[in-house]
């Protein structure tokens, strides 16, 4: 369990005027957003809106041209031990000589450190994380021999092994089967109920209301941010996507 959230709590992630350019093209044009603690927040926007870039830039994984990102009130670089990040599946080298268990153990590097060996305690803890995602039977499989959904679960297990308070996920439901999607949603909601904070780039507009508490509508800059019920509305979504695809959403 994470400590109860005080009323004056800093947001899980506070982004101010964040700017990223690829060459001359601005990808993030001054994004400001305050993402709440203890909530599941979806980042929604069209292709090229800068959703993945926002996560990577906030974490300092790519260079920014301006702006700041604070996690729990501190510069992200100082808060990294409290943050877990799950990249897009396409960004991973699946031929790498690593088994599912090896990947999860990578999430425990801060605990095992440079010199100490991986002992029985670490292996047991990693197996626990795999079990929570129904992956214990696949622990010794090479990661490339897993299905897309299983691969996503392994990376979530790695995030779980970090024991983080803030989880950033880049399209966790892209290309996964229905069983995996359900398993991931259940796990994320359990983490939220423990007081942890979830921020996920999400593509499927039809599941936003069922899965998430809050939503950040993004298209190079923040269009809107707030609770799903009041923010995820046809007008705002249409503004985000720049067209009228939003027929499935309450007006």
């Amino acid at each position: 369990m994470v400590d109860p959230i005080p009323l004056t709590a800093e947001p899980a992630l506070a982004i101010r005027d964040l700017r990223v350019s690829y060459g001359a093209n601005p990808v993030l044009d001054g994004v400001t957003a305050s993402l709440a603690r203890g909530a599941m927040t979806a980042i929604i926007g069209p292709n090229g809106a800068g959703k993945s870039t926002l996560l990577k830039a906030a974490l300092g994984l790519i260079p920014t041209t301006g702006g700041t990102a604070l996690a729990f009130g501190k510069p992200v670089a100082q808060a990294l031990p409290r943050i877990a990040y799950v990249p897009q599946r396409a960004a991973v080298d699946w031929d790498f000589p690593a088994r599912a268990l090896d990947v999860v153990l990578m999430g425990m590097y801060r605990r095992t450190g440079l010199l100490s060996r991986i002992g029985k305690a670490e292996t047991a803890a990693a197996m626990d994380c795999l079990s929570r995602l129904g992956m214990a039977d696949f622990a010794t499989r090479q990661i490339g021999a897993l299905s897309g959904g299983q691969q996503q679960r392994v990376f979530l297990a790695r995030a779980l092994a970090q024991g983080a308070e803030l989880y950033l996920l880049d399209e966790p439901f892209a290309g996964v089967d229905a069983a995996t999607e359900a398993a991931i949603v259940t796990l994320l909601k359990a983490l939220r109920d423990e007081g942890r904070s979830i921020i996920a780039v999400h593509h499927d507009l039809s599941t936003v209301s069922a899965y998430f508490d809050r939503v950040l509508l993004l298209n190079r800059r923040t269009i809107a941010e707030g609770p799903v019920a009041s923010t995820f509305r046809q007008e705002a979504v249409a503004r985000t996507y720049g067209n009228q695809i939003a027929t499935a959403i309450p007006a």
Binding site: F96, P97, A98, D102, M106, G107, Y109, L114
Partner: protein
Amino acid sequence: MLSALLLQSGYNATLVAIGAALLGFAAGMVGTFVNLRRRALVSDAMAHATLPGIGLGFLAMVALGGEGRALPGLLAGAALTAALGLWAVQALTRTRLTEDAAIGAVLSTFYGAGIVILTVIQTLGAGKPAGLETVLLGSTAGMLEMDAITLAIGGALVLAVLAVLRRALVMTAFDPGHAAMMGIGTRAMDTALMLLTLAVVLLGLRVVGLILIVALLVIPAAAARLWSDRAGVVAIIAGVIGAAAGHIGAALSATVPDLPTGPVIVLLCFAAFALSLILSPKRGLLRRLTHAG
């Protein structure tokens, strides 16, 4: 031949065989991480970039009144221009040039410069340049006890560093973003890997030579990958393959007159790779054939 393999054909041949095995083990281990981080071609450029440094090291020592043959002086020069070559690749990659073009340009330019310097040295008539060209393809014929001890100490140092950094190196190769978030200095790890590779290149100058050392880094690691799905196990198997190739290659070249050591070792590495391709339990051709229907 058999007596050379079994370390019974004289003191010098025994030294050579042990030294080559140690080099092969270190190269196979380091090469596994080089492959995982996709630095094979950069390593090749770095190896070729040692040549002008060897020539310049010779000239510097002659200018200071020596014969120009002292190994530490040659190695210092080699390390200097290898580092310069590595820097040149990185600087060129920051322009519009792709990495493979940058590597091609640096590798050939440095190697060309090295050949020019060696040619000038031959015509100069200063110092004692005889045998300097053996750094190209390796020759264990004139190897001394000192060389074998250098190989043993250098190889042990490389393996010790590798043992400490192995997890950080694997994590940097697998997912640099995640590694950075776990508190690993990924740039420092890349630098460390390049320094380890440079150490293997320098250790291998006498045995394999700078043209073919990349093969001893890459091929045992590629063969070992066919036998295991765990990075640590792959590294150890690669080390064993490299050691066997080094040992047998040195013994062969000691038996047949004028047979250069480097090419023989490389061909043995390839033989191990070909055998792995056929026999590997999960990916081998043999298994695919027998399980085809």
